[in-house]
Amino acid sequence: MAAVAETTTTVRPERRRPSFGRVMAWTVMIAIVLITLVPFYWILRTALSSNPGLNAQPADPLPVDLTLGGFERALGLQSTEEAVAQGGAGGGLKFWRYLLNSVLVSTLITACQIFFSAMAAYAFARLRWRGRDTVFALFLAGLMVPTIFTLLPNFVLIKELGLVDNLLGIALPTMFMTPFAVFFLRQFFMNVPKEVEEAALLDGAGKVRIFFRVLLPMASTPVMTLAVLTYITSWNDYFWPLMVSYSDSSRVLTVALAMFRAQTPQSGIDWSGLMAATLIAALPMLVLFGFFARRIVSSISFTGLK
């Protein structure tokens, strides 16, 4: 791709003629987009098909034998006989219940974790106290411990607290803080000009008031970004809820979905129902993403630790 040499210095990059390389590059880009998106379409196509239809025409690009049966099974709207007749397992899956559980757990984790982390971040960034740097270094060291390592001992602790099979038990370990959230928000608070605070102090506001009335509102953008990401992470978590929940009362969508996949009826996996359930489980995050896509996409970068 030989570029045209410029004789005059222009600020704007000049338009280049589409070269072979550029065409190739676009082809690759389009292929990547297809690989990314086709599975999403395939979920929808399968969810709207009937199981016998899927067996008969596995390669049809459109829904075979268009039906909402899959969604009805996933949401438990069909009777057992009906479900079995259509290739379902007939096991009572209460997706509304799991959806509610997922919403409750994710909301609890997100709201508490970010609020408490913001408080701690403010203390680290703006308050003066003995041992501050040491404690902060300790928090940062917490980043080094893989989550997976704390799962087993945390399970033992949750069991000792009598919170196994309880939504609070699922939320508790990540409800108070994550080292990342504290670090992330501290970075923001440290960059707020001191003058903002000093002006408020002169007006006679206390530091508590400054935090709630001045700094927290100023931090709404990073807080929202962090909140969306925390929500997605807790919504998608599987390993920890799998350890802690044993019955419908505390089962979240990811765990329920894996269970749905495991209960294979005699006629083979109920693909139509399974894909409908998958879509239901994934939809809230897709909607959330629809609202926040631009913000999330542009905020993914390094925390600038160097």
Binding site: P39, Y122, V145, P146, W235, Y238, T254, F302, T303
Partner: protein, 317 residues
Amino acid sequence: MTVASSSPPSRLPLGAAEAVAPVKKAKSRPGGDGALAALFIAPAMLGFLVFLLWPTLRGIYLSFTDFNLLTPAEWVGLGNYVRMVNDPIFWQSLWVTVEYVVLNIGVQTVAALAIAVLLQRLTQSSVLRGIVLAPYLMSNVVAGIVWLWILDTQLGIGNEIIAGLGADRIPFLADETWAIPTIAMINVWRHVGYTALLLFAGLMAIPNDMYEAARVDGASEWRMFWRITMPLLRPVLAVVLIMTVIGSFQVFDTVAVTTDGGPANATNVLQLYIYDSAFGRFQFGYASAMSVALLVVLSAITILQYRLTRAGQTDLG
């Protein structure tokens, strides 16, 4: 300083543009707002001590005990570690995990780099960036199930296409040789966009003037990639690698929903074996010992990678 390893790999690298700034060294005078600070930090401190520090210490302690949850833990010294060293399934799990990580990280890093460069040099459309990120919004469970269906030997569209091309159907997740590479690729599908966006953020820090100047000198895109992009991206790439490798070692969800360790232990990754030892056989002590082993492996890799990639670190200007 670079905080390299993070627990949830999904968490560390996210940063709002606003937050990107060097850590200012604030002068801390003792005293000051002691009481107020204690109040502000109390909830986070509680969480840190109870759900992070304590379980870390306890996990190490439990690895030296015999513990089945019902009766109190009984000190057995190095018993669990001796058993681990002599356990062929442990070594098999470790090997399978390493195989997975090499495939997963190898393909993911190259693909993410390609996507990031395409996004940088071809178009900086935020719609495309959004599309590329979409699979990351799915849980591993969802991604696993969807690909289980697409790659199904009899009915999956993937195999329909293969059969349509006249080739033999491939039992992707039911075959000992195919299973691990397939799971590695499923996780590439879910994570590659996210990794690409991290690299893309690093690429955006490279001044456009450099490319302009190189173009004036008649350099090709290929040459610019090796002479400008790679050297300047190297520090970012190093951190991304450390993080993704650590995340990759913790693979569990995808395996649990697709193969559940089979066929014949071919996909019995370390996390799955740990989970099975703890919750399937109630050997919490042994499971903890294996967790400690994993922690040691991860720490060693982090230090090694950090040392290796730090050498010759470049910076702008």
